[in-house]
């Protein structure tokens, strides 16, 4: 990257800057004329006296002349404004493009950072550098050339005018420029250094806050809130101190500038006045010079301000790029795809892996000390490191995630460290306990290792049915990306290269995916997730039909667990006690996937039904009792308590509002120990305005009798809800655009697959039997063969941030599956699944070994008892290669010891 921001700007925007300067210069005569014409209007058209005026050979009257000049002035104003608009937009676009380019370059460099560098810098330090700190650069880049040209030009023009009037006054006008030019940069230099310190301090602060966020549980568990606050206070104080100093110096510079600017008129008045008195200068000339000097001030001020901004930006730029040029960055060429045909998969790596005095040191400590070994392409090798040392480094060296500090590592004839990432990343698989899952669907995470390039060109030919608007938008996107030096590849394209997995077609790919999921024993968890998730996981139509068909048989199976009360069926003629009031009313799911409460709140038909049936009033009365109970129960609960989130009908922030509503209603509240203390509810509701009544009814919408165990939904209210439900269904009809009603003969994508299968809710009182219900469903699905199809749909479940929706072991299983799916020539597994019990681990290990028969598998683990499953054993102890032989030989040597 260019060391100076000007070099960077010129390299990428030379043409644009020239264009901008030309535009600016072209606008100057127009500015001049827009000043000249008013003078003509006043002096000639108005002050010139009556008579005829000659314009381009035509004689016109004074009024016509005045109008001509006035319209000319108006025309110039419009043209000037238009020019300014064009220049400003051009500057803005230029700046933003460069900002986009700069951020993209920085991100690119992050991808090239050597892995150990991330031990020294944290995400919370890097992120603001790419996002917030680069922000002012965009504005500056547009101004960087055009502004000094424009303001400098104006300054030179005005100064020339003064010099023409009187040489000595000209000298007086610029007499104070040299001290300003000398002093200001020196003062500014100190401010720059302080700015640098400030930026560093803010970065550190961001880092510490980031640590507090990630370590929040430890702060609470150790009661170190005071300690942490003291630390943050010290850091904030440090930033305050620096800023304070910056302000004092910055405003001193401002003071100095203002003072010097006012000192010049002092010279004009005293020296100029003296010259006028001694008749060496005319009064008119002095007045003209004073007027011209007034015009000099703004461009000079602008130039000084620009200088200050330039300095500020220069510091910011150099500070940012310093952080993005660590030692040992991956060669940019290795990161780029081979130019020939990027859409073709990389050719396989063949031959044995050979390490020759392979070494890796960190902070001067040898972690891998001169290892020499050979691993055959089709061998299964175990790396044992009992003291936990070097397993990480050795496996990462083999996966080319680390670069050796000495020695060499080759595969066949190729030097591993000279291979492009398109080869290593496609042909070598690596997973470890810290392998990351992304916040996307489980499937997206599983296929992550297959997404090297868009599958059809840049993905733009993908899907023949792309409409005109999309195609045009995509064209603009590509054009802009090119202008900013960004990637032009289409993120919406199909990136999954199923061929890498060894599959010939989509059907085979699905089979391989399911086999791998079973291989790593992720099937059970995936099926559970697919069954229980509330997300719409795109169940194919045929499968949906089969699920509906299965409902009857499954109800029988469930009755075997416990007959009767286990599942409450979704009967359209019954009030369902395990649904909330709003779910009972809607008796379906909104088609636009908004939450039921939001749907009900805005739907005019629902509003009408609620009001005409009197249900709103009943619900408001119940809401009044509920609000009273919530105020009573939750008033002492801290606002940030999880209890609010999980159980309260009213958010912590809204509690005071409901207190007011309660007091407006006469302070009647449920609670204080009795069912009978509700008083005259009708009178209370009447005291409230319609908005308050609506809020109270919204509270009771969330009530679920079976879950909350509050006998508030009485049989008459239930009957009204049923009548309202019926009216809603009748008025909308079964096939409407808004609600998908619960229908025994139809699949409902708004419900989980499990609820679709049960066509009912597991009762809250039998919630403890949920696992057995799920187990029964799974067995039924397995017997019908539908489990694999549902699992495939389950891949659409979101994995959550960092895979948080999956248990830690399942997360690691998924990363192992991801590495297996790309069917790499070399598969390196680094100490994964250590949280599993020994039996399960050994079982998965056996399956993976079987799956990798005839292909390389290199697995780092700690238990020597498992070594016998492999053909070769490397033992690492304290950074040295202590053993490289067959596992049998290792076992013998261990016995001898």
């Amino acid at each position: 990257m260019e060391k100076s921001i000007y070099k960077y700007i010129l390299r990428h925007t030379k043409k644009d800057q020239v264009y901008l300067v030309l535009l600016t210069l072209a606008s100057m005569p127009l500015v001049y004329y827009s000043l000249e014409i008013p003078k003509l209007i006043i002096n000639k058209a108005i002050g010139g006296g009556a008579g005829l005026f000659e314009v381009f050979g035509y004689e016109i009257t004074q009024v016509q002349y005045l109008l001509l000049l006035s319209f000319l002035f108006l025309g110039l104003v419009i043209i000037n404004g238009g020019m300014k608009y064009i220049i400003n937009v051009y500057r803005g676009v230029l700046g933003e493009r460069m900002l986009r380019r700069f951020r993209y370059t920085l991100y690119n460099r992050i991808l090239r950072f050597p892995l150990p560098h991330f031990k020294n810098v944290s995400a919370s330090e890097i992120i603001p550098m790419v996002t917030a700190e680069t922000e002012p650069l965009g504005g500056f880049i547009g101004d960087s050339v055009a502004l000094p040209v424009m303001q400098g030009g104006l300054l030179v023009t005005y100064l020339s005018f003064i010099f023409v009037q009187d040489f000595y006054l000209g000298l007086a006008a610029i007499a104070l420029y040299p001290p300003q030019v000398y002093l200001i940069p020196r003062l500014q230099h100190k401010v720059n250094q302080l700015s640098k310190t400030r930026v560093q301090k803010v970065r550190k602060l961001a880092d510490r806050i980031g640590e507090s966020v990630t370590g929040i549980a430890d702060i609470h568990a150790n009661d170190t809130g005071h300690f942490e606050r003291a630390d943050i206070s010290r850091r904030l104080g440090g930033i305050f101190g620096v800023r304070n100093e910056i302000y004092r110096r910055k405003f001193f510079i401002k003071f100095l500038n203002n003072f010097l600017a006012q000192l010049t008129p002092f010279f004009f008045y005293s020296i100029g006045g003296y010259l006028v008195l001694t008749n060496e200068l005319s009064l008119g000339a002095l007045v003209a010079v004073l007027a011209a000097y007034k015009d000099i001030a703004p461009p000079w001020k602008e130039l000084l301000k620009f200088y200050q901004i330039t300095e500020d930006i220069r510091v910011k730029y150099s500070q940012i790029i310093e952080q993005f040029a660590p030692d040992g960055m991956l060669d940019a060429k290795l990161l780029e795809a081979p130019a020939a045909d990027a859409t073709q998969p990389a050719s396989p790596l063949t031959g044995a892996m050979r390490a020759n005095r392979l070494s890796y040191a960190e902070d001067g400590v040898a972690r891998v000390d001169a290892f020499s070994f050979e691993i055959d392409a089709d061998r299964h090798t175990v790396i044992l490191s009992r003291d936990g040392s070097a397993g990480d480094e050795l496996t990462q060296l083999l996966a080319r995630l680390l670069a050796p500090t000495a020695g060499s590592l080759s595969i066949g004839d190729a030097d591993l460290n000279a291979l492009p990432e398109s080869v290593t990343g496609q042909r070598i698989g690596y997973c470890s306990a810290t392998s990351r899952l992304f916040n996307a669907s489980i499937g997206d995470n599983l296929y992550y290792g297959l997404k090297h390039q868009p599958q059809v060109g840049d993905g733009d030919n993908n899907g023949a049915g792309v409409d005109k608007n999309t195609a045009a938008a995509r064209k603009t996107e590509v054009k802009e990306s090119l202008a900013s030096g960004n990637s032009t590849q289409n993120i919406d394209a199909d990136w999954v290269d199923i061929g890498l997995s060894g599959a010939a077609d989509a059907d085979e790919f699905r089979r391989i995916v399911l086999d791998i999921i079973e291989c790593v024993e992720l099937d059970d968890e995936l099926l559970t997730l697919a069954l229980r998730t509330e997300e719409d996981i795109d169940i194919p139509e045929r499968l949906a039909g089969e699920i509906v068909t299965l409902r009857g048989a499954l109800t029988e199976q469930i009755n075997h667990i416990e007959s009767g009360a286990l599942v409450e069926p979704l009967d359209p003629d019954q009030y369902i006690h395990n649904l909330t009031v709003e779910e009972n009313l809607l008796f379906g799911t909104p088609k636009n996937r908004v939450p039921v409460a939001d749907f009900l709140a805005v739907n005019p038909l629902v509003k009408r039904i609620l009001d005409s049936s009197g249900l709103r009033r009943d619900l408001a009365e119940i809401g009044l009792e509920l609000a009273g109970l919530m105020v009573e129960l939750f008033s002492d609960v801290p606002d940030d308590s999880e209890l609010f989130e999980q159980f309260s009908f009213i958010k912590a922030d809204d509690l005071p509002d409901y207190r007011r509503i309660l007091s407006a209603a006469g302070g009647v509240a449920a609670g204080d120990g009795g069912d009978d203390k509700t008083g005259d509810k009708t009178a209370n509701i009447d005291a409230l305005n319609p908005q308050q009544v609506a809020r109270l009814s919204a509270v009771s919408f969330q009530l679920c009798p079976a879950r909350h165990r509050l006998d508030l939904i009485t049989p008459p209210v239930q009957a009204k809800v049923l009548a309202a439900r019926k009216q809603l269904m009748d008025e909308l009809g079964a096939d409407n655009a808004q609600i998908r009603f619960f229908d025994r003969n139809r699949y409902n994508p708004g419900m989980s697959v499990q609820e679709n299968l049960l066509f009912g809710r597991i009762t809250y009182a039998k919630g403890h039997l949920q696992p057995r219900v799920t187990e029964t469903i799974k067995n039924t699905l397995k017997s019908t063969g539908l489990d694999r199809e549902i699992m495939l749909a389950g891949l659409n479940c979101p994995a959550g941030a960092a895979g948080s929706k999956l248990a830690p072991n399942a997360q690691q299983k998924l990363t192992l599956a991801r590495a297996l799916l790309k069917h790499p020539d070399i598969l390196i597994v680094n100490n994964i699944l250590s949280g599993l019990d020994g039996k399960s681990f050994a079982r998965i290990l056996d399956r993976v070994i079987a799956r990798r028969a005839g292909r390389n598998l290199t697995w780092a683990l700690n238990d020597p008892a498992l070594a016998a499953k492999f053909q070769q054993a490397l033992v690492v102890e304290k950074g040295k290669l202590a053993h490289n032989d067959s596992p049998q030989a290792l076992a013998e040597s261990l016995e001898n010891m």
């Binding site: 416990e562 009360a565 109970l629 009573e632 129960l633 939750f634 002492d636 609960v637 209890l643 999980q646 159980f647 449920a670 609670g671 120990g673 009795g674 069912d675 879950r707 909350h708 165990r709 509050l710 006998d711 508030l712 809250y764 009182a765 039998k766 919630g767 403890h768």
Partner: protein, 156 residues
């Protein structure tokens, strides 16, 4: 309201009797109540512990395993008693199973809530301590008795 009745019943649970009615109502409102059929397990020995149960109605049996893995009845507990609290403290797995003898209704308090109750209410903590001490004393007596028995058998 049912929650009020449950709160009044929780007052009868010795460990929770020192809580005021508002705290008990909040506890009842924020916990689930499960209905167990006869011989249904509340939890099995070796299960990961996630909650403590307060028996609201019915009777439960504490079941261990003998050397051959066969179930052995260790104790019974009736209404207003607390079960599963040991694992909540130890944070591990259930040391014994508990199953319903006849129909049982039980309030399930998540471990985290239970520990919170104890740490924020010294009276509750004291009661828990007394209860555990009593259980420890009973176990010690049993151990002493078993040792005696072993000695006698050896002598014979």
């Amino acid at each position: 309201m049912v929650v009020h009745k449950e709160a009044m019943q929780l007052k009868q649970v010795p460990l929770l009797s020192s809580l005021d009615s508002k705290q008990l109502k909040l506890l009842a409102f924020t916990c689930e109540v499960f209905d167990f059929a006869d011989q249904d397990y509340l939890f099995h020995q070796g299960d990961a512990s996630d909650c403590v149960y307060v028996i609201l109605e019915g009777e439960t049996e504490v079941v261990g395993q003998d050397a051959d893995g066969m179930p052995v009845l260790l104790a019974t507990s009736g209404a207003n008693s607390l079960v599963g609290e040991m694992a909540a403290f130890a944070g591990g797995v259930r040391s014994a199973g508990v199953r319903a003898r006849g129909a049982v209704s039980a309030l399930s308090i998540p471990n985290q809530r239970f520990v919170e109750l104890i740490t924020t209410n010294p009276q509750v903590a004291m009661s828990v301590l007394q209860d555990l001490t009593r259980k420890l004393a009973e176990t010690s007596k049993l151990v002493a008795k078993l040792q005696d028995e072993i000695e006698t058998r050896k002598d014979n």
